[in-house]
């Protein structure tokens, strides 16, 4: 075994150790916490890139923890699908880590920064674990690690509303966790194994069992809640709007994407296309709900008065796009869907970072208070416009490319009406993105109300601006050089459609 084969387990163990080291270091001197956290996340990001390159060349990495061969032992599996997701979420986690320092200083009391970074590190570790595990129960354990840390991180803003948001998410997240656990238990009852590859191998014999149907529905509902798939998104707007900016960015980019990844993994790698298309035809229903989600999320976003809340509802809409790919379930649409996982993470990360920066400088994110903000914060508003253009789907951004593939896939499958609704969703995205652009750039001529905010506001510090600009440019360059991304996405989709 070479070193690269050990990296998957090191990506989980070293961050867990680091989170405890942060605790110890914070007890000595609080200022050590942030560098340790940053170095660990950069290590994880570097490992993810190394794994991605390795998997692209040499194929899937399988690692049996403790030397116990699967299906008895726990197995870590990294194939081209999850190495892509891993690189995407850790890219965003690294960007968030750069951004977090100043924002955490401002939004979270100094006595809480130590526990904030410990939990931040654990959340990322949980997400990494969810992504690379090949064992369905291990997935649940990491899901709970990431969920519990997320609840506390949301509450760490320590405003009354953030407690309520955290509590709501706690309740809904626990219901989701219960559903997922029941689903896993049913699968175990039907097959006697928890290993994903083994499940995919054994399940076809019991496709007709009611236990398996129930397991499938439980898992679908559970992960739909975690991924905030309409109409199970009710926890999302509060959780995103009320948590500290750094947490919002991490939740909306990394955590939401990992939940979607888990759903894709369960649907395609555990149940396989044979089940979700032929035995228990669910894709048509998912397609319908996803289309409703696209429109409803966008309409709700347009109706919001607060920038962060608007972006949160936009996330509901964008989750719809990714689930749309799942509903169409052919090669091209799934390529679009996976591309959108990366694309949405990059552009929504950028948009939430700008929202966080505005809160950092002006102390508010009410749209009516932000008139003429582009005068005082030109760089971040330009980044918002670029990432927003990607959100709308203006070529040549990444948002355009993913939607292009989605529409092509829908047309190939003959879903003309759905493809049309998808384009309508883009028009609605213009509605909410343009609202901020208009207020920011052209809102000053009747902006007497926001005068006192403007005088105080100025462009953000470099450590926050750099990730904003970086992600905005990335959303452009990923679209221009989409071929490079497709080289990763193509094999990933083949893995999904080809079963485990």
């Amino acid at each position: 075994m070479t070193m690269i084969d050990h990296i998957p387990v090191l990506m989980i163990v070293i961050p867990i150790l680091a989170s405890l080291l942060i605790l110890l270091a914070g007890w000595y001197d609080r200022r050590f916490c942030y560098p340790i956290s940053l170095i660990t996340i950069l290590f994880q990001f570097g490992s993810a890139i190394a794994i991605l390159l390795h998997v692209m060349q040499e194929g899937t990495i399988r690692y049996s923890v403790g030397g116990w061969a699967p299906p008895l032992g726990i197995e870590l599996v990294v194939d081209s699908f999850n190495s892509y997701i891993l690189a995407a979420i850790l890219l965003l986690a690294a960007a968030t880590a750069f951004y977090a320092r100043r924002s955490v200083e401002k939004e979270i009391g100094p006595e809480k920064t130590v526990s904030f970074y410990v939990l931040f590190q654990l959340l990322i570790t949980g997400l990494v674990g969810m992504t690379i595990t090949g064992d369905i129960f291990n997935l649940y354990v990491f899901l709970e690690i990431s969920s519990i840390t997320a609840y506390t991180l949301i509450a760490s803003a320590r405003r009354p509303h953030s407690y309520v948001a955290s509590f709501n998410y706690l309740i809904l997240g626990s219901i989701a966790g219960g559903f997922i656990l029941l689903g896993i238990a049913n699968l175990y009852a039907a097959t006697g194994t928890l290993n994903m590859a083994d499940l995919a191998h054994l399940l076809p014999a019991s496709y007709e069992l009611a236990t398996v149907h129930a397991a499938f529905l439980f898992l679908m509902i559970g992960f739909s809640i975690k991924a905030a798939f309409f109409p199970l998104h009710l926890w999302l707007p509060d959780a995103y709007a009320e948590s500290p900016s750094a947490v919002t960015i991490l939740l909306s980019t990394a955590m939401a994407k990992v939940s979607i990844y888990a759903m894709f993994r369960i649907l395609f790698s555990v149940f396989t296309t044979a089940y979700i298309i032929d035995t228990f035809p669910v894709t048509g229903f998912i397609l319908f709900i996803a289309t409703v989600a696209i429109v409803a999320g966008a309409v709700l976003a347009i109706a919001q008065k607060d920038l962060k809340r608007m972006l949160a509802y936009s996330s509901v809409s964008q989750v719809g796009y990714i689930m749309f790919a799942l509903g169409v379930a052919n090669q091209i649409a799934l390529e679009g869907g996976l591309l959108h996982i990366l694309g949405h993470a990059v552009m929504k990360g950028c948009l939430f970072m700008v929202a966080g920066l505005i809160i950092y400088r002006m102390g508010t994110s009410r749209l009516s208070d932000l008139k003429g903000v582009a005068k005082t914060m030109p760089i971040s508003c330009a980044a918002f416009a670029l990432a927003g253009a990607s959100m709308i789907g203006i070529p040549p951004t990444i948002g355009f490319m993913s939607k292009y593939y989605l529409v092509l896939g829908a047309l190939e499958a003959g879903h003309w009406v759905y493809a049309a609704v998808l384009l309508l969703g883009s028009l609605l995205a213009v509605g909410y993105i343009w609202r901020f652009i208009e207020i920011a750039y052209f809102g000053d001529h009747h902006g007497d109300h926001g005068e006192d905010h403007q005088t105080r506001a100025r462009e953000g510090p470099l450590s926050m601006l750099a990730p904003i600009v970086g992600l905005a440019l990335l959303s452009l360059f990923l679209g221009v050089f989409v071929e490079a991304v497709m080289e990763v996405v193509g094999p990933a989709v083949s893995i999904l459609l080809g079963g485990a």
Binding site: H6, L10, V13, I16, L17, L21, L24, S64, G66, G67
Partner: protein, 143 residues
């Protein structure tokens, strides 16, 4: 806190037994039902009982926050350290057999398994106790 002779005497008698039982559960984990997590919780329950009977401050004198942080880090370090040692010696993570064959000591993997369980037990004990401290400190009110 109001004096209560019965509770205090019974706790005084029960705590050593609870702790010995916790150690038994931890050590038993290698070969049967039990393990570090369960044993750690049982061990922490002895501190919980002491908190109820003698009050928070007297328990804190024996196990203060500094020790709780040290214990929680120490336990997980034992666990991860043994796992990483297996990795350095060329095996997979937590593949105890590798250490046994490298060092040539028979039955070493069993002791290593116990050591890992003890590590888990220490961390669980410390974290559970810190949760109780946190709840007892606020007197049931959220701040």
């Amino acid at each position: 806190m109001r004096e209560n002779v019965v509770i205090r005497t019974v706790s005084r008698l029960a705590v050593p037994f609870i702790q010995v039982f916790a150690l038994y559960v931890i050590v038993h984990g290698a070969s049967g039902a039990g393990g570090g997590f369960q044993g750690g919780v049982v061990f922490a329950s002895s501190f919980i009982l002491m908190t109820i009977a003698f009050g928070l401050s007297s328990v804190r004198k024996r196990l203060n926050n500094r020790w709780i942080v040290i214990c929680s880090v120490l336990g997980i370090t034992i666990y991860a350290g043994i796992g990483l040692l297996c990795l350095i010696l060329g095996g997979n993570y937590l593949e105890y057999g590798i250490i046994e064959t490298t060092l040539g000591i028979p039955h070493l993997h069993g002791y290593l398994l116990d050591a890992v369980e003890v590590g888990i037990g220490i961390t669980v004990m410390a974290v559970m106790t810190s949760i109780i401290y946190d709840m007892a400190e606020r007197g049931g009110e959220s701040s």
